[in-house]
Structure formats: structure tokens, C-alpha cells
């Protein structure tokens, strides 16, 4: 392994991670400087709503495609979301495995696993790029950062797939490119929309808190939702009707 690759795998990554963590911390300080709203209303329902349950529902929302109409009716987009984010997780994990546990990659199965997951994410990245460019609504809501972040991740996925076998003796340029790109990615993330996962716990906490307190979360739908706090609901014939959207 060359010195440059060693630097890229260790010092560069550690520095980039430290910078990212510091900027994230500043981001949180920034967010917390906005005052938190207070809800004085009495809780909805005869019993106080189970706040912990509602918050859990809100936080786990992303893993419950049935919970929102938008994910129920756009299953393809939801599947893309899952694959894409698994790819991000795998590509980040790989950037730790290569420098700190390279022997893991002696297992062909694990390398295949990384290649498969990250490769699928690469394909989804291309599909997302196509969608963002081809749909007028997506174009209208896209900023240069949106395009760049997506392109960055898609190229990064490709490099991660190629780097997964970890062969510095034959493949050093790819490994260098992957680690320099990872470092750039870590430095760029806090300034871009990719940092959305930092906000996720907070936005979902506040929405979840309000909607649970007001008896909206967890969302109930008819006709499947039967008894609510032990009470009878719905007319008999409603149970026979399939759920459908009037516009699809």
C-alpha cells in the first residue's frame, strides 16, 4: 500500500469525519437557537394519548410504507428509497471496513454483498437522476445542490463497488479515488441537503408530538380501523368496501 493510500484511508478520513462532526454540532446549535413551540391544549381523547407510542410511530414512519398514502401508492419510489439508503449505509461501512477490518473482505460473500447492495444503489441513483431531470415538477423543485448531491452519491457508489474487493496491489487508483471521494463527501454533507438525516429525528419528533397529542397519530384508516379505545366504529357496509383513491 502506498503512503498516499494509507493517508487517504486513515488521516484524511479521520480529519474529514472530525470536520463533519464539528459542522453537524454547529448545525444542531443553530437549530436549537430557534425556540421550541409549546402546546397548551388538553390532550385529545378520554385517555391521554400514548405519547411514546405516537413518537415511535413518527420516528419509524420511514420504515412503514403502509403508514402514508404517498408511500403506499408509490411503492416503486419507496423501494428506490430503501435501496438507495441501504447503499449509502453500505458504502460508509465499507470506508471503515477497508482500513480497520480488511480481513472481512477475504470473504467473497461479503464482497458480493457490498457489491450487490451498493451496485443496486448506483442503479437507483441513475434512475433518480433521470426522474429529477425528466419530470417537470421534479425539475421545478430541484436546486443545483440537489443535482450535485445525487451525482456525487451515484459516482461514489460506483467507486465503492469497484473498491469493495480491496486490492491495493492491482487497484490502488480506484481505492484512492473512493477514499478521496468519501472524504469530500464527508466534508460536503453538512453543507448540503444530504444532511437531512440530521434533521429527521427533530422534524419527526415535533410533528409526531403535535399529532399524537391531538389524537391524529398513529393514523387510522377506514375501513380497517375498527375499535378505538374500546368503542364501536363504522357502519356495517363500510367493511365491505375496498380502499381506493378516487383519482387513481
Amino acid at each position: 500500500m502506498s503512503e498516499l493510500l494509507h493517508f487517504a484511508e486513515h488521516r484524511l478520513q479521520e480529519t474529514a469525519l472530525a470536520v463533519m462532526a464539528s459542522v453537524y454540532a454547529l448545525r444542531l446549535v443553530w437549530l436549537f437557537r430557534f425556540r421550541a413551540g409549546r402546546d397548551r391544549q388538553a390532550p385529545t381523547g378520554s385517555r391521554p394519548p400514548a405519547m411514546a407510542r405516537g413518537l415511535l410511530y413518527s420516528w419509524l414512519n420511514v420504515g412503514m410504507p403502509w403508514a402514508m398514502e404517498s408511500t403506499r401508492t408509490q411503492a416503486g419510489l419507496y423501494a428506490q428509497f430503501v435501496v438507495f439508503h441501504l447503499g449509502v449505509t453500505a458504502a460508509i461501512l465499507l470506508s471503515f471496513v477497508i482500513p480497520y477490518a480488511p480481513h472481512w473482505l477475504d470473504s467473497r460473500a461479503l464482497v458480493f454483498g457490498f457489491e450487490g447492495v451498493i451496485g443496486a444503489a448506483f442503479v437507483v441513483g441513475l434512475m433518480r437522476f433521470y426522474r429529477r431531470l425528466s419530470q417537470p415538477t421534479m425539475r421545478a423543485i430541484s436546486t443545483p445542490d440537489d443535482y450535485f448531491s445525487l451525482a456525487l452519491l451515484t459516482v461514489w457508489f460506483l467507486l465503492a463497488v469497484l473498491a469493495a474487493p480491496n486490492r491495493p496491489e492491482t487497484n490502488e487508483p480506484i481505492l484512492l479515488a473512493y477514499f478521496f471521494m468519501t472524504a469530500f463527501f464527508l466534508l460536503y454533507v453538512p453543507f448540503s441537503k444530504i444532511s437531512h438525516y440530521l434533521y429527521y429525528p427533530f422534524t419527526r419528533y415535533y410533528l409526531g408530538r403535535t399529532l399524537t397529542h391531538r389524537g391524529v397519530y398513529p393514523i387510522r384508516r377506514g375501513p380497517a380501523s375498527a375499535a378505538v379505545e374500546g368503542r364501536r366504529v363504522l357502519a356495517a357496509d363500510a367493511h365491505r368496501r375496498p380502499e381506493r383513491s378516487p383519482t387513481c
Binding site: 413551540g37 408511500t71 421545478a140 423543485i141 445542490d145 422534524t203 389524537g215 391524529v216 366504529v233
Partner: protein, 576 residues
């Protein structure tokens, strides 16, 4: 020469400055967290009816606000504005564009909010933007008028105290007569009552039957109840205009009245935004912890039936009904199972609407849209989603627990020519309520209806069928009817015939109803003649209420049935 920095108008500067005070963590999070994934796009009724116009997409609309937030409050937008889509507002024209989005392209229904995986609550951010615009005087005319009424007169529709008390008295008399029970009255300002009942001014103005029906239910349940003589409006335009000061002042007025009366519980009549404003948001805006319980009348009625305080016979409501969940009730306050339980008890044929509960579509008249006539064509176009949803149920009656939805649904039903009527739970419960023998309802034929003999009524409408209908109903009851099919003829006939009452359509070719109304009021010889507006276009109310003359004595929404017409004519002419 150097590039000059654009000069910012005073209003634009104030909007930016005030934004820093309005932003809280929830809104800042919503503005920072959007990833522009577009998942929420199809959840909006505006998008569904304008699929080729990306400017209706919730994320696009949110970006009009987000760009200002990023430019002034987020460091990425300060350093690389172009890169992250940050931009400021400079001119009053920029604010007008924001107004078009915040008021004209969103009903704040929150449907996109519950469909965003990131938890971005655009509707709340949009309400903030409305409030900022209102604070610098940039708002639709209707919003300004209604806000002014609520600030100055104390309720959204400019109902004067005498008019309100008069209506309560009238409804009280109707109830006593219906139940043949002199104790069946509407108590006003009674201290220490278990229930203080607050209503929507629309009930006084256009739908007093709901007051009488509620009074009937309270009476049959043997409730200790009262209505306040002041601070009785449980609606709150602050919710729609985004003006927290107005919201707080209106809510406080009502809370203080309940405290003054030492009421134990505030029961809020069926109104989505009223319920949300009074029970949920009001304490936050008013900055006070409310020392009494508050509940929707839907829960009150349900409890009366469950506790056996009133008995209902559902076979009296056999027409197929469906239920429309108001966004404010269902999506912001969790009130969606109780109305269904109540319906199950009082109707025989209930048909669920899809989607429903918190996923239901807006009536498309929400967020104050009914008061913004400049956006009516957009609103009615977006209402196609709701119309299809209603039609698919096969029901003949749509029930809703919201007065705003009553107006929104009635308008779209007329526009899309659906064979449906709109009603509220209170009406169905009152119909189904079994009156105990001691207050048996007299046979309808037993009481001769008071005659209109000797009364001369000028009916003005450009639709010949409507004129024929009014003439036959009124003449059957003894009135002398004079007809006019346009504004000029109406004025000429009014001057010649000196009628006792004028019924007036608003939308007419040439001189419209508003102009006729003002001319009547300004004519010394006709100024005292009572006028009853009868219109099929509620959005034209401003033609009347914006005028600096005494408001009309009556107002009815078309279509009008004979019973409603006669009841209102008798009330105005004081024929009892």
C-alpha cells in the same frame, strides 16, 4: 459603475425582520429538512387537478418561503445562495407573488404534511407566511374584510349583538312551539351552567336551524346550559390569516366569557376551524392555560345518546349519507371516529368515503378560501377531486361537522351538478331525537301557518324558474308578489310599489344585486324596506357586506325550499 444592491421595499424588509420572530424550531426544521424528493406532490388536491403545472406542488410552494429562510437564516443560503436555491424578497411585487401562493394555491389542509417522510409540515410554514404578509397589509381583500369584522365587531361575519340575540329569541320561540313546551328555550348568560355553548356566526346569518336543533338536543337531554351574549363566536380567522394576535384576542374573548359565567364546560358547535382554533390553538395564541374543559358538540351528542339522556330513532334518517372529515377536525385535532359512531346511531344507510379520516381530501374551501373570491375559479377547479370522491359514494347527503365545509361542499356540489345535499350531525340527531310524550310534537296540520296576507313582496332574480317558485310559495300564503328579472326593473318597481320586503339575487346581468341593494339603502323612501339576499354564489357576499350601508335583514343560500323561504320571510316581516 458598481452594481447597485437592490433596494428593498419597507414591506419586504418588515417581512424578513418579522420572520425572525415567527420562526420556531418546528418551522425552521420543516424549512431546512426538505430533500425535494417529490413524494408529497400527488397528495395535494391542487396538483391532482393541475397535473401539468409544477407551481402547485407542495414542495414548490414551500420553496417560495424556504428560499427566504435560507437566504437570511441558514448559513448555506447566505454563503452559496444560488447553489441551494436561496433568494430574498425585495419588492412589493415579490410579496404579491408570495400572497398568490400562500393564500391562493394552498388551503393549509396539511395533507402534504402527513405524507412527507421527513415530517416537513408545510401547512404550518404557510400559515406563518400568511401571517407575515397580513402584518404588512398584503392579503386578499376578503381576508382583510373578515379580519376587520372579527377585530372590530367580535365575530367573522359582522353579526351585531342585537341580530344575534334576536336570532336566539326567534329560535327559542320556534323550539317552544315545536315542543309545545314553554320551558324549551335558549338560556342566555346563565351563570354556573354545566355547558356554555358557542357557535359560528354563519349559524346566525345563514343557518339558524342548527341553533334550534342544538337547543332541542340540550333541552331533551335536560342539560344545564347557556349561550353567552358576548364573546359567543368560537370561530377564529386568525387560524386562516396566520395572525396570532387576532387568534389570541378572539380566543381570549371567548375563554373570558366562559370564566365570567363560571361555566364548567365549553361546548363548541360543529365547525372544524372553530374547534381547532378554540380547543387546540387558542390557548397557545392567547398564552393562557384554560381553566375549563372544552369539547366538540359531536362528543356531547354522542354522550347524551350513550348515557340514555336522549333517545334516537335512526329510521327517521333513511337517505343514504356519507361523511366528509374536515381537515381541521380530522388531520389536526383527531376528531374522526366519534362522528362515525354518532352517524351509526342516527342514520340507517351510511357509506364511507375514500380516502377518509385524516387522509381525507379538503373540501377545497378550507383555509379561508371561501372568503377569497379572486381565487374562486382555482378553488372550483381543484374541487374536482372532492366531487369525484363524493359521487363515488352514491350517497344523497354528505354530512360534515364543519360550517366552512358546508359552504365549500355546497358550492362544489352546485358547480359539478351533483345530486347531493349537505347537512350536519346536529340536524340528523335533532331529526332522530325521540321527543318524550310530555313534550309531544304537535301534528303539523294542527297549527295553521300565519298568513302573509296584505304583505307586498318584490322578488328579484334573473332565473324565470326561481321567480315562478317564489311567487307560488308566497302567493299561496297570502302575499302579493311583484317580480323583477334584472336590477334596473327591480329599482323601478321598488320605487313604484313600495314593497314590504325585497328578496334579492346577487348575480344578475347589468346592475347586480349589490348595486341594487346599495341603491335601495341610499334611497330615502326605500331605506327602511327589509331586504333578504338569496344567492347561489356565496363568494359574492362581499358585494353586500363590503358596502358602507346597513346589512341586509336576511340571507339565504340557494337552493331554498319553501319552508326555509317562508320561515325567513315571516321572521323578517315579524309575522308569527
Amino acid at each position: 459603475m458598481l452594481n447597485a444592491t437592490p433596494v428593498r421595499s419597507q414591506k419586504a424588509a418588515r417581512v424578513i425582520d418579522r420572520m425572525s420572530k415567527k420562526l420556531n424550531r418546528q418551522i425552521a426544521g420543516s424549512l431546512a429538512a426538505c430533500v425535494h424528493c417529490g413524494l408529497c406532490t400527488s397528495s395535494c388536491h391542487y396538483v391532482q387537478t393541475n397535473p401539468d403545472d409544477p407551481t402547485y406542488a407542495p414542495a414548490y410552494k414551500a420553496d417560495r418561503i424556504r428560499k427566504i429562510f435560507k437566504r437570511h437564516f441558514d448559513w448555506t443560503g447566505r454563503v452559496f445562495p444560488w447553489w441551494v436555491g436561496a433568494a430574498s424578497v425585495y419588492t412589493d411585487a415579490d410579496l404579491e407573488e408570495l400572497k398568490d401562493v400562500a393564500f391562493g394555491k394552498c388551503t393549509n389542509c396539511r395533507r402534504c404534511s402527513i405524507n412527507c417522510p421527513m415530517g416537513v409540515d408545510f401547512a404550518t410554514a404557510n400559515r406563518m407566511m400568511r401571517g407575515l404578509l397580513v402584518s404588512v397589509g398584503v392579503m386578499p381583500e376578503g381576508v382583510a374584510v373578515v379580519s376587520k369584522d372579527q377585530w372590530e365587531i367580535g365575530n367573522q361575519m359582522g353579526v351585531l349583538k342585537e341580530e344575534y340575540l334576536d336570532t336566539l329569541e326567534w329560535m327559542s320561540e320556534e323550539l317552544s312551539a315545536e315542543l309545545e313546551d314553554p320551558t324549551a328555550v335558549i338560556p342566555v348568560d346563565v351563570a354556573d351552567a354545566d355547558v356554555v355553548y358557542a357557535i359560528n356566526p354563519r349559524e346566525v346569518k345563514y343557518d339558524p336551524r342548527t341553533i334550534a336543533d342544538a337547543a332541542k338536543i340540550f333541552h331533551l337531554a335536560g342539560e344545564s346550559w347557556t349561550m353567552p351574549s358576548e364573546g359567543w363566536d368560537m370561530t377564529n380567522f386568525g387560524l386562516f390569516s396566520g395572525d396570532d394576535d387576532l387568534g389570541g384576542a378572539v380566543a381570549r374573548r371567548l375563554y373570558e366569557k366562559v370564566v365570567e359565567l363560571r361555566g364548567r364546560k365549553l361546548v363548541i358547535s360543529e365547525c372544524g376551524h372553530g374547534y381547532r382554533s378554540t380547543r387546540c390553538e387558542g390557548p397557545n395564541w392567547a398564552g393562557m392555560d384554560v381553566p375549563f374543559e372544552m369539547e366538540s358538540s359531536v362528543l356531547t351528542m354522542l354522550r347524551y345518546i350513550r348515557e340514555g339522556r336522549i333517545t334516537v330513532d335512526k329510521s327517521r334518517n333513511t337517505t343514504p349519507v356519507t361523511f366528509h372529515d374536515s381537515c381541521n377536525n380530522a388531520r389536526s385535532c383527531g376528531l374522526y371516529e366519534e362522528p362515525r359512531e354518532l352517524l351509526d346511531l342516527v342514520v340507517t344507510d351510511f357509506r364511507e368515503m375514500y380516502p377518509n379520516r385524516s387522509e381525507n381530501y379538503c373540501c377545497t374551501g378550507g383555509g379561508g378560501a371561501m372568503s377569497m373570491s379572486e381565487y374562486t375559479p382555482r378553488r372550483l377547479k381543484s374541487a374536482r377531486v372532492k366531487a369525484e370522491q363524493l359521487a363515488a359514494t352514491g350517497a344523497k347527503v354528505v354530512v360534515t361537522s364543519c360550517h366552512n365545509c358546508v359552504d365549500g361542499l355546497s358550492d362544489l356540489i352546485r358547480h359539478y351538478k351533483l345530486d347531493m345535499q349537505v347537512t350536519q350531525l346536529v340536524n340528523l340527531v335533532a331529526t332522530a331525537a325521540v321527543v318524550p310524550a310530555r313534550v309531544a310534537v304537535p301534528a303539523a296540520a294542527g297549527r295553521p301557518a300565519p298568513s302573509l296576507a296584505g304583505r307586498r313582496i318584490l322578488v328579484v332574480d334573473d332565473e324565470p324558474d326561481v321567480l315562478v317558485f317564489y311567487r307560488s310559495v308566497l302567493e299561496d300564503h297570502g302575499a302579493t308578489v311583484v317580480e323583477a328579472a334584472d336590477g334596473e326593473t327591480a329599482l323601478a318597481l321598488a320605487r313604484r310599489e313600495k314593497p314590504d320586503l325585497v328578496t334579492l339575487d346577487l348575480s344578475m346581468p347589468g346592475t347586480d344585486g349589490g348595486m341594487v341593494f346599495e341603491a335601495l339603502r341610499r334611497d330615502d323612501t326605500l331605506t327602511d324596506v327589509p331586504v333578504c339576499i338569496i344567492t347561489g354564489r356565496p363568494e359574492l357576499r362581499r358585494l353586500i357586506y363590503d358596502r358602507a350601508v346597513r346589512p341586509p335583514e336576511g340571507y339565504l343560500d340557494k337552493p331554498v325550499d319553501d319552508e326555509t323561504l317562508l320561515r325567513n320571510v315571516r321572521k323578517i316581516l315579524e309575522v308569527t
